[in-house]
């Protein structure tokens, strides 16, 4: 028993003496370490806010800021520094943004990233001096679309956060949320569930049509307006008579339109890109196309997916494209996959054989763009064949 007590006491006394020694050392070094950390933090903040004179950390839990903001500091002159965590090409990365009192970016610094492209280090510099209105004018870096897009979005989040902290209001909803909210506001009976319709008819001034999933009606987007109709095509939104008549006419065309598949095997000269063809009751055509982009023609070094880009195109019998949409694709991540974005494929809407080439190519994805354009061009050829004058 005595032996055990001696053992316990010895170890306890040694531990206690060591603890006292550590406490004394900590008492001496802790203020110095703290001062150093503050100095390092200040240096990091002044790097993105060079004219900053003093910073104070803000408790971000008190504000409804963009979710990417993980840290915020206010600067004496009314500016802010934000630490943002976002996702780039294939990994998360952390960026610091300085925003002055006028909402202009004073500096950026990527402090953590596993992105492979050098854009993580260089792109931030191109954003310095930009504001919320001019940030989209900064060119995307070819081959680094996702990284640069993430940078831009992070910069927008930082500017939005500075507006909120400055007492202003900002719409923090993403584009999909804003669209759905607008659709729901136009047609509350739709219960916030809408599906985009592939337009096969030429509709006057209508850029997109959504159908309520519960069948209660349609919403037509015409310019800035969201105009709702009931299931029978009668306009229920409060708009002027001219627009009401136009939308009602469009709705009836949509409702009455039926499409019938054409047996393309009967046409020997039908381009191989045309997988299926349909004709509407109004005489327009719809095509399912296979585009040989990078997935088919890509360099083996980059491991192409081996899959075609699937495209759906509707066009008038006169050869004018009504709507073009990418159905599926497996192009290169962050490069060729831009072909799946409406910003790219909607460029073909309204184009004819004489001007379909005038679309903006996808940066860094020449093979994808050329394959896509070639497939869409076959629509004009196919229409001629189907009409018998090809």
């Amino acid at each position: 028993m005595k032996k055990h007590l001696t053992t316990i006491c010895s170890l306890s006394i040694i531990s206690a003496v060591v603890a006292i020694l550590l406490a004394a050392t900590n008492h001496i070094t802790a203020p110095i370490i703290k001062a150093q950390e503050n100095e390092a933090a200040f240096a990091a903040l002044t790097e993105v806010f060079p004219d900053g004179e003093g910073f104070e950390q803000i408790d971000i839990s008190k504000y409804k800021l963009p979710s990417t903001i993980t840290e915020a500091h206010s600067e004496k002159s009314g500016g802010y520094v934000f630490k943002i965590e976002t996702v780039g090409y294939d990994s998360g990365f952390v960026i610091m943004f300085g925003i002055d009192a006028n909402g202009t970016i004073t500096g950026t610094k990527c402090i953590k990233s596993k992105e492979t492209h050098d854009a993580k280090n260089t792109y931030g510099k191109t954003l310095t001096g930009k504001t919320k209105d001019t940030i989209d004018s900064v060119d995307t870096i070819s081959g680094s679309t996702k990284t640069t897009a993430a940078y831009k979005n992070a910069a927008k989040d930082a500017i939005n956060a500075s507006i909120i902290l400055g007492g202003g209001t900002v719409d923090l909803r993403d584009e999909a949320q804003i669209l759905n909210d607008n659709l729901s506001a136009a047609l509350p009976d739709g219960e916030s569930k809408f599906t985009s319709l592939f337009i096969t008819e030429e509709l006057d001034g209508v850029s997109a049509v959504y159908k309520a999933d519960n069948g209660k009606g349609y919403v037509f987007i015409s310019g800035e307006n969201f105009i709702a109709t009931d299931a029978n095509g009668e306009v229920v939104s409060d708009v002027d008579d001219e627009l009401k008549l136009s939308i009602s006419d469009s709705a009836k065309q949509i409702i009455l339109s039926e499409i019938k598949e054409i047996d393309i095997s009967r046409y020997e000269d039908m381009p191989k890109q045309v997988v299926k063809a349909y004709k509407t009751t109004s005489g327009n055509y719809v095509f399912d196309l296979n585009a040989a982009g990078f997935g088919i023609n890509g360099d083996a070094y980059y491991n192409p997916s081996g899959e075609y880009i699937m495209i759906k195109v509707s066009a008038t019998a006169e050869g004018k494209i009504i709507m073009c949409e990418t159905i599926s694709q497996k192009e290169s991540n962050g490069i060729g996959d831009v072909c799946a974005k409406p910003e790219f494929y909607s460029q073909f809407n309204g184009k004819e054989e004489t001007n379909y080439r005038e679309i903006d190519a996808i940066s860094g994805a020449t093979i994808t763009t050329n394959g896509y354009k070639t497939a869409v061009s076959k629509v004009f050829e196919a229409i001629k064949i189907l009409k018998g004058d090809g």
């Binding site: 032996k3 053992t7 170890l11 040694i14 020694l21 550590l22 050392t25 070094t29 110095i32 370490i33």
Partner: protein
Amino acid sequence: MSNKNSNLSILLKGLLLENPVFVLILGTCPTLATSKTIIDALGMGLAATAVLICSNMVISLIRRFIPDTVRIPCYIVIIAGFVTVVEMFIHAYLPSLYEALGVYLPLITVNCIILGRAEMFASKNTVFKSALDGVGMGLGFTLALLSIATIREVIGAGTFAGIEIPVLVDFKIKFLQETPGGFLVYGIMIAVVYKLTHGKAPKKTKFGCESCPSFAVCGGVKCDNTAKEAK
């Protein structure tokens, strides 16, 4: 006179004849990890030396009060305490070295050299002799780190303590800055030291307890005790 010679022998044996890195092959992990640059190697060596001297002295001072059954936990607590103290001071006054040494600084706690000297020397000798042993072994460790780091930095990075060497910087062999390069230099240095101390460094002619490099100090007492306890 004999006592003076004995003290000098304790002090000097760690430098070459019983160098902890090149002869006893202890502390290999921090040696390879912190020998990329001379500054890091010097920092690690001096930090380990400070801990070694302090822990050796304290363990020697209280060796009679430490029960044999809990001697290793006691040594660890004392060593960990000194390591934390050194770590705090380096963090406070040499932040760049603190960043450079990283995890290897707290890992001095489990450095075989320090625990080994506590068990084999400090627990059986006077405070003065233990301090001399700490200085000798610490300097031996530091010299070993510096010699490896000098080769790795000068040839591998073309710099000396961060200062570029005009011609070498254009013909650097980057491989030496990597871990395999560290092993290669380490192996060569062991061979060189063996050659230099041929016939003088402890030879492994026997196996078991007697083959231990510290047998001369320990005399096999601990092994005898362990064997008796086992029986």
